[in-house]
Symmetry: C2
Subunit: 392 residues, 2 copies
């Protein structure tokens, strides 16, 4: 019944991305129980696969039973208590969300702001750590989905460590698209989402926590404010104890297990290269068409490109025509650039040469029809140039 | 890949239950975006279907993006603030969980306890309301999944109303199995799970909130402590505003939409009758085999039967043999009856005559092989007797 009513889209927005057909097939597998030995074995394999993708040996590496935002909340409610102090770097909507989520724990939030489209300056994070005693944690967004900016992590990680603070990182849009070197960057808690570069449906938040984070958890004075996201209990289900906490989302777990298997089969390096070349090709094509990219060019994500909407062109008209005439979804702007930028994702299984060329072609047609002047085929030519440079 | 490794089970535990094949098929549908007009239309239809199943006209009727426990937390964190007072009825593990979840809001929890296996006495709830001023809410579990008891609601609903308290009800195991008359019982907030009598995979919590609950939400002094479960924001995505909050679990929403469609096609009354007759048949069969049921006979759920494990019979040995020799999952005991009772679910699509007879037959074989004396075929005969009485 469902398949007949749901049209087939090409998902080139900021997520969800297209699922690999094998992931969809996995979701049609009949259920087993959440304490079935076969399921527990698959959970162990999923944890092992997640460690590879997060580039860590952290024992506490699992998937929370909610979307990426539940992962964000998990990290903050487990890390913070009333009276704690946290430094948050903000250069987009998801940094803002961190402030909202962290504030609800009763912790004091010290905000380090950068203009949207730029990265957060690591030096300013260091300043904040210097001028505020006993900061418990420092948090930044690795791939800011609202602007398309890739935040460098290593320096901030070192500062956090120097000041004895936990380093918390949002990798919702980065994991599986660009390297997320959890151990190397000194990250203590890192969460992601299934529906971006992992190419599974939305619904789980893969996350990993360092032994240092677990020690901090032991030293808490009060219970974690969320029962559902309380890692002191959740880890006893994922760990050897297998204590029942809540019923795991079985089918979503099938999907994640399968998606991680496909990703590791392709190989992390190949996956990152694929994202890089398709992203650069798209960006070259858009620029050749005379469009201006939004994110600072030194820190552009390959998997998520934000572009200014040209003057006189109406946001929703173009997006609706892409959707209805070509079946392509792209995203609109969030927050301060709502209605002023488009966000084009080439995430996971959606990151394919055919999608780049299709989008550039479709966008050219629509833009020309609304009076925007663009030379025929110039976007695709520029993209093809990038593919030639990479692959010869 | 996945299908080959996951064995086919018959799920007769306390959940998840077997999914209808059409629900599994719906989950293999390619994704659309969470703001796609086709998806938003399907959400509206899902809300309408949920209102029918919850027997309510509540505008705020939706599915939270987590399992049933996330639904529980949603209700308490939105209803309560520090300093508020809540009366909770407890007669099993999920009542206990309510106390834990509610306590984390900073509210004062007044506990009204009954022995496990019994219902909470409505008179004692009234007493608690009388002796404590300004109680903000009264909460009970409708179908206590740890004991198999069905809690009557109407009287408690009236007491709550008389004292100006919100009435909060856990319908995780009841919704779709027995009537959950939200409006008639004066319920202000009611949550469920997808993986019990709705026969969809675990991962969403359908929930409904009365206009009175929404008014109380407006009068809150502080933000809801959970960002992810904050109804003041979540309702703006489900409502006409369509504000992005978090990325909806698209595939789980397909499943819920399909599962509700199948349920309503069968008809609520037929569904309740099916659960009733299969439950009574199972219970008659178990008793004929000399087993003792755990729940108070005046308040037994048809869809979840708890039964004492006979003396000298080892819990896990029997459950492992059911699983490995017959592919049948049943549940063990929780909390104070861990290792002492089995919990047998006939939930949703699992509630079928063939499952009742198969389980009774398999259990007879295993019990006899471990030295428990039982007359051959007596359980199935008693069950068939119940079917004859119902259907002639």
């Amino acid at each position: 019944m469902n398949e007949k009513r749901i049209p087939q889209r090409i998902l080139l927005g900021p997520g969800p991305s297209d699922c690999h057909p094998e992931v969809l097939k996995a979701m049609a597998t009949p259920l087993v129980g959440h304490l079935d030995p076969v399921f527990l074995e698959q959970m162990n394999e999923t944890m092992q696969r997640l460690r590879q993708v997060f580039q860590t040996r952290n024992p506490l590496t699992l998937a929370m039973s909610g979307t990426g935002s539940a992962g964000m909340e998990t990290v903050f409610v487990n890390a913070l208590e009333p009276g704690d102090r946290v430094v948050i770097g903000i250069c987009g909507a998801f940094g803002e969300r961190m402030v909202d989520v962290a504030s609800r724990t009763g912790a004091e939030v010290i905000q380090v702001r950068a203009p949207w489209g730029k990265i957060v300056d690591p030096g300013q994070i260091q300043e904040a750590l210097k001028s505020h005693p006993r900061v418990k944690a420092v948090a930044v967004v690795h791939a800011e989905t609202s602007t398309g900016v890739l935040q460098p992590l290593e320096e901030i990680g070192r500062f956090a460590q120097n000041y004895g603070a936990l380093f918390l990182v949002d990798a919702v849009t980065s994991l599986g698209g660009v390297p997320v070197p959890v151990e190397e960057a000194g990250i203590d808690a890192c969460y992601s989402g299934t529906q971006k570069c992992l190419s599974a449906p939305p619904g789980l938040s893969p996350a990993t926590f360092s032994p240092r984070f677990e020690e901090a958890l032991e030293r808490r004075k009060r219970k974690v404010q969320s029962w559902y996201l309380d890692l002191t209990m959740v880890r006893q289900y994922w760990g050897m104890e297998r204590f029942y906490h809540h019923t795991a989302p079985i089918t979503m777990m099938y999907a994640l297990h399968e998606a991680l298997g496909l990703l590791l089969e392709e190989g992390l390096d190949s996956v990152f290269r694929r994202h890089l070349v398709n992203g650069r090709a798209l960006q070259a094509g858009l620029e050749a068409m005379g469009l201006k990219l939004y994110a600072d060019e030194r820190h552009r994500l390959p998997q998520l490109t934000s572009v200014w909407i040209p003057d006189g062109v109406e946001d929703t008209l173009v997006r609706n025509r892409l959707l209805h005439e070509y079946g392509i979804e792209i995203g609109g702007g969030l927050g301060e650039v709502k209605g002023r930028v488009w966000r084009i994702g080439l995430l996971g299984h959606s990151s394919r040469r055919r999608n780049v060329l299709l989008l550039l072609g479709a966008l050219e047609q629509i833009l020309r029809s609304v009076g925007y002047s663009v030379e025929s085929g110039i976007g695709c030519q520029a993209a093809e140039g990038v593919y030639r440079d990479f692959f010869g």
